[in-house]
């Protein structure tokens, strides 16, 4: 079997340098035994002839240059999978931590995955009803989509994600098998616990696979956690024909971890100290959502990220937005007005929406109503700006109508209960009611025929 190496050449944060190794390969898994009993895992992140740089998925405490045995495993990072993983909880490295024993693997997969061939993808078209008006009506979630939630610290993104999971899994076709893969990267214990409780309350626990890397777990492990989760999701979706919803939280911690490891490797930083490959790394995660031709299952991703300082131009939300198929943006000022969910619809977007709505999927007026609501609500902002300068009384009649519409839109359309599950008809009808506040000639985004059919109804 493999050779064991005694001793190390260098320890620097989570990175270890080993010299004199033979046959090591890039991304190979490594096992350490410290002082004859404590086991740790690592991964090779750079090789220079006989020198390997290894990232340890654990802290490097107690390791010295002499007391450690290193064994190369001969394979990249892998995870054993079978249907047993449903209902189970793992740590960030895919080891069970719920005390229910080991998984009997049916297959063993390389967690790095391979790029999905665009020719074998199927373009996602089926919409998922989440029961949340702002999402269903204006940023429709499509099966096989990656739609992140851009949030800030202290905003109820977890609540919203839990509500989406709960209501989407109720679904209209109860015959299809669904499942949830939940990956926590560097989140607080309370957050992980919140999700676990929510899944239990809504009775979906037996369909959930959880990968937990909490905020006090090793940073290097965080880099592998989402890959574990997505490998599990792909297995369930494309081999077991399940519709999988993947929740990844918090992507910001993941990116931070990448920066930390990159810095200790001495790499040249690009934007805000993040490594130049941040885009590629995020893309290899996000692009693992989708549908494959000829397979029944699908992987839908809802990554959650907290925007540092609520700044949407920060590299993490910025690069994410360029990869994902839209975004749902939460807004602090709406949250302060006690509106739940505090979704700011204007910067929110679903790129796949256009092909998954309309007469064949939802209702014929859906696109027009959505466009009109967006356009009118954008106008509300202008009216509010003006009112703050010249006072509400001085506004023109039309602008006053817009203010009224704005309040109604936020209070009735966007706001809803944490357990309220609206149908698509309800959502669109609320939309029409609100549009009635405005004069008919202001509704310039709606096709004349649809306007006649629905406005005067």
């Amino acid at each position: 079997m493999a050779i064991e190496y005694l001793g190390l050449s260098e320890i620097n944060g989570p990175l270890i340098v080993l010299e004199g190794v033979q046959d090591a390969f890039y991304e190979e898994m490594v096992e350490f035994v410290v002082e004859g009993n404590r086991r740790k895992k690592g991964r090779i992140v750079a090789v220079d002839e006989d020198k390997a740089v290894i990232q340890v998925f654990d802290n490097t405490d107690e390791m010295s240059l002499k007391n450690t045995h290193t064994r190369l495993s001969g394979h990249p990072m892998e995870i054993g999978l079978s249907l047993e993983i449903l209902g189970r909880t793992f740590n960030g490295l895919g080891e069970p931590i719920d005390g229910l024993g080991k998984i009997e693997p049916e297959v063993v997969r390389d967690v790095n995955g391979l790029p999905l061939n665009p020719c074998t993808r199927e373009y996602p078209r089926n919409y998922i009803r989440t029961g949340v008006s702002a999402i269903d009506g204006l940023t429709t979630l499509i099966r096989g989509q990656k739609l992140p939630i851009f949030s800030g610290n202290g905003l109820p993104h977890d609540q919203l994600a839990a509500q989406i999971v709960e209501q989407a899994s109720l679904g209209d076709d109860s015959e299809e098998e669904f499942g949830i893969v939940f990956a926590a990267m560097g989140v607080k214990y309370d957050v992980a616990e919140f999700f676990r409780r929510k899944f239990e309350e809504s009775g979906v626990s037996s369909h959930v696979t959880m990968f937990l890397n909490l905020s006090n777990d090793p940073v290097a492990e965080r880099l592998i956690t989402p890959k574990m989760a997505l490998t599990a999701a792909e297995y369930l979706a494309f081999e077991k024909n399940m519709h999988i919803l993947v929740i990844l939280t918090d992507m910001t911690s993941y990116a931070e971890a990448m920066r930390e490891v990159s810095a200790s490797k001495g790499e040249i930083p690009s934007r805000k100290g993040y490594p130049g490959y941040l885009y590629s790394e995020l893309a290899t995660l996000y692009e693992r959502a989708g549908i494959v031709q000829g397979r029944e299952g699908s992987v839908t991703q809802i990554p959650i990220l907290t925007m540092p300082n609520d700044d949407i131009t920060h590299p993490i939300p910025d690069l994410t937005g360029y990869i994902t198929e839209g975004q749902i943006v939460l807004e602090r000022s709406l949250h302060q007005k006690n509106i739940y969910p505090p979704i700011n619809v204007l910067p929110s977007l679903s790129r796949l929406m256009k092909d998954g709505i309309g007469a064949a999927y939802t209702r014929e007026d859906h696109q027009d109503v959505a466009n009109q609501l967006f356009s009118s609500y954008a106008r509300v902002g202008e009216a509010r700006d003006l009112a703050s300068v010249i006072g509400e009384d001085e506004l023109s009649q039309t602008d006053k109508k817009y203010l009224e519409f704005g309040v109604g839109f936020e209070q009735e359309f966007v706001a809803q209960g944490v357990n309220e599950n609206r149908t698509i008809e309800e959502t669109l009808d609320i939309g029409w009611q609100l549009l009635h506040i405005l004069p008919k000639e202001e509704l310039d985004r709606i096709d004349t025929k649809i306007l006649e059919k629905y406005y005067d109804r």
Partner: protein
């Protein structure tokens, strides 16, 4: 004679070999036992640096690296159109059939179908003198494209043998020529060309013909010339990709090369699906029959992303040499620039602005300069138009890629977040966008659309600029206090924005609008403006004008007047006259 060496170090997509072994710069190499494709990007006495176009997971030091003896090249022959390739011209469809849903490492497939027999018409006979670019045979590649088999550039001689017309594969000999030095060369349909070197041309023409796109804001306000360059910058969600799709669908180029560089997989799938169904309104052929896709999605290896832009360009130049007008959609050039940055970082080069390498500007300019309207070696005319999307970080146009791109393109179509938020599509901001081609194209518009086209266009832009100035005032004091003539400008500007600039890509009539209709629409809007101005001038209040639904009717012309029934514009003119007369009479 191929050189070889052994891997010394591996760092992501970059590998190094110790020693000076005789590799050449830009030489293609095969790396490791999986024979991953790579390229030599740096040489010094101590080591050779290679970028690998595939995932390097699993590579070990000591594995063999073998030189291919030629620069990284594309294979040029029939079979390119309708195909979908990765960044180094490997056919994804075939890879999918052989390897399933995922793209494994080290796939070894023929770049183009070597077994397919093409119906070939030979165009030369013995004794003919041929030179670089001379057409020796013709092959109908798709219903839309006649593929011309050309003598490779830098080769000339006398034909000594030519095959009969018939069915041939891309590797069978078609013609044999004798060069001046007596050496005989056998020509097949296939030729190779290194991707980083522009194919030679006879001379460049000025760009004096527009790329007709059927998109009103482009054709009318900011036209692009055939052989020109344009950049479409915009933050995420502002509609770069949608604009590129619209251009790929409707522009009057003969061939479209769509490069998905570091973008979403689903988008490429969408293009593939949609273009295989949509029919080109001008020729009646499928859009796919004139399209080649290059897909290097964001999760595919980063080095191939860098190469994909050049692969696309070289394919475009090859078809240009046949006398076609080719348009390249590069979505997005920022991903390509970031690939440069990523590789530069791995090479530990000294970073310049924002971590981008210092050679970013020179690479960008070299890329855009490969566009042009040219006379080819064989005397035909052809063009390569480059339309590059730019994804500025944080939507901020002051970042290096946007700024450097701006220096090298002549048409700048700035996408605007505020417009996109209000779902005004295409979200091209008419105040910050510009085109330098207008002067060059003026004659063409005068001769082909109408002498009044450019004056109307200028008037339109003028109203919009005035509107933005007035809006500054409105923001401070509200619109009620403006005098009526200024209120009218705001109203007409609204008609222009909603009825003219806004264009619905999902509406059967509105998705493509012929030049003629664009002119008529402008004229009707300006006619309305003229009549309203007359009314205001005799003291009619704006509020009274607004009572009439005429403004709404003009706005919905884009939906209500089909592209083929332009005589209906006369009715609108009458409607405006009636509106004018009606107001005059009731308020006399």
């Amino acid at each position: 004679m191929s050189v070889s060496g052994n891997i010394y170090g591996i760092n992501g997509p970059i590998i190094t070999i110790k020693g000076n072994l005789g590799f050449k710069m830009s030489e293609m190499v095969y790396v490791g036992k999986d024979r991953l494709v790579g390229e030599v990007i740096g040489l010094n006495k101590e080591e050779t640096t290679i970028q690998v176009f595939e995932e390097t997971t699993g590579l070990r030091p000591g594995e063999l690296v073998e030189g291919a003896g030629k620069a990284i090249s594309v294979t040029l022959a029939p079979g390119i159109i309708t195909n979908i390739f990765d960044g180094i011209e490997r056919p994804l469809q075939l890879i999918g059939e052989e390897n399933g849903a995922y793209i494994p490492r080290g796939v070894n497939v023929d770049l183009l179908d070597k077994d397919k027999k093409w119906e070939t018409t030979i165009c030369v006979k013995p004794e003919d003198v041929v030179g670089g670019g001379s057409v020796i045979a013709e092959v109908p590649e798709t219903p839309a494209i006649l593929h011309k088999i050309m003598v490779p550039p830098e080769m000339d001689g006398t034909v000594v043998w030519a095959a009969e017309n018939g069915m041939y594969t891309i590797e069978e000999p078609l013609v044999r020529i004798q060069r001046a030095d007596g050496i005989q060369e056998t020509l097949t349909m296939t030729q190779q060309w290194p991707i980083r070197i522009p194919r030679p041309i006879q001379k460049r023409y000025p760009a004096d013909r527009p790329l007709v796109t059927g998109q009103r804001i482009l054709d009318t306000l900011f036209p692009i010339a055939k052989g020109g360059t344009a950049a479409i910058p915009g933050g995420f969600g502002t509609g770069k990709t949608m604009t590129q799709h619209q251009l790929a669908k409707w522009s009057d180029a003969d061939i479209i090369i769509y490069i998905g560089c570091g973008e979403r997989g689903n988008e490429m799938t969408n293009v593939l699906e949609e273009f295989s169904q949509l029919v080109d309104p001008k020729t009646g052929n499928l859009l796919m029959d004139r399209t080649t896709l290059i897909a290097n999605t964001s999760n595919m290896p980063v080095a191939a992303r860098e190469a994909s832009i050049y692969t696309g360009l070289t394919l475009a130049e090859y078809y240009r040499d046949m006398g076609y007008h080719v348009a390249i959609m590069a979505d997005s050039t920022s991903r390509w620039a970031e690939a440069l940055r990523e590789l530069s970082g791995r090479l530990e080069e000294m970073p310049a602005e924002e971590g981008f390498p210092a050679y970013l500007a020179s690479r960008l300019s070299a890329f855009y300069e490969r566009a042009g309207y040219v006379e080819n070696l064989n005397g035909t005319d052809g063009s390569v138009t480059i339309i590059g999307a730019v994804s500025p970080q944080g939507g901020d146009f002051s970042e290096p890629v946007t700024q450097n791109t701006k220096r090298f393109v002549r048409c700048f179509l700035a996408l605007d977040k505020a417009l996109a938020y209000a779902r005004h599509y295409p979200a091209i901001n008419w105040l910050t966008s510009y085109t330098e081609y207008l002067g060059d194209l003026e004659n063409w518009y005068g001769a082909n659309v109408g002498a009044d086209f450019i004056p109307c266009r200028n008037e339109l832009l003028n109203i919009l600029t005035t509107e933005s100035r007035l809006n500054e005032i409105v923001k401070l004091i509200g619109s009620d206090v403006l005098p009526d003539d200024q209120k009218l400008i705001l109203e007409i500007a609204r008609v222009i924005r909603l009825g003219f600039l806004q264009q619905n890509a999902f509406h059967a009539e509105d998705t493509f609008v012929p030049m003629e209709k664009q002119l008529q629409m402008m004229k009707v809007i300006l006619y309305l403006y003229e009549k309203c101005r007359d009314l205001i001038n005799i003291g009619m209040p704006m509020a009274m004008l607004r009572e009439n639904r005429i403004f709404e009717k003009i706005i919905s012309i884009k939906y209500d007047v089909p592209n083929k029934e332009l005589h209906k514009f006369e009715e609108y003119r009458q409607m405006i006259d009636e509106f004018y007369q009606g107001l005059l009479q009731t308020n006399a």
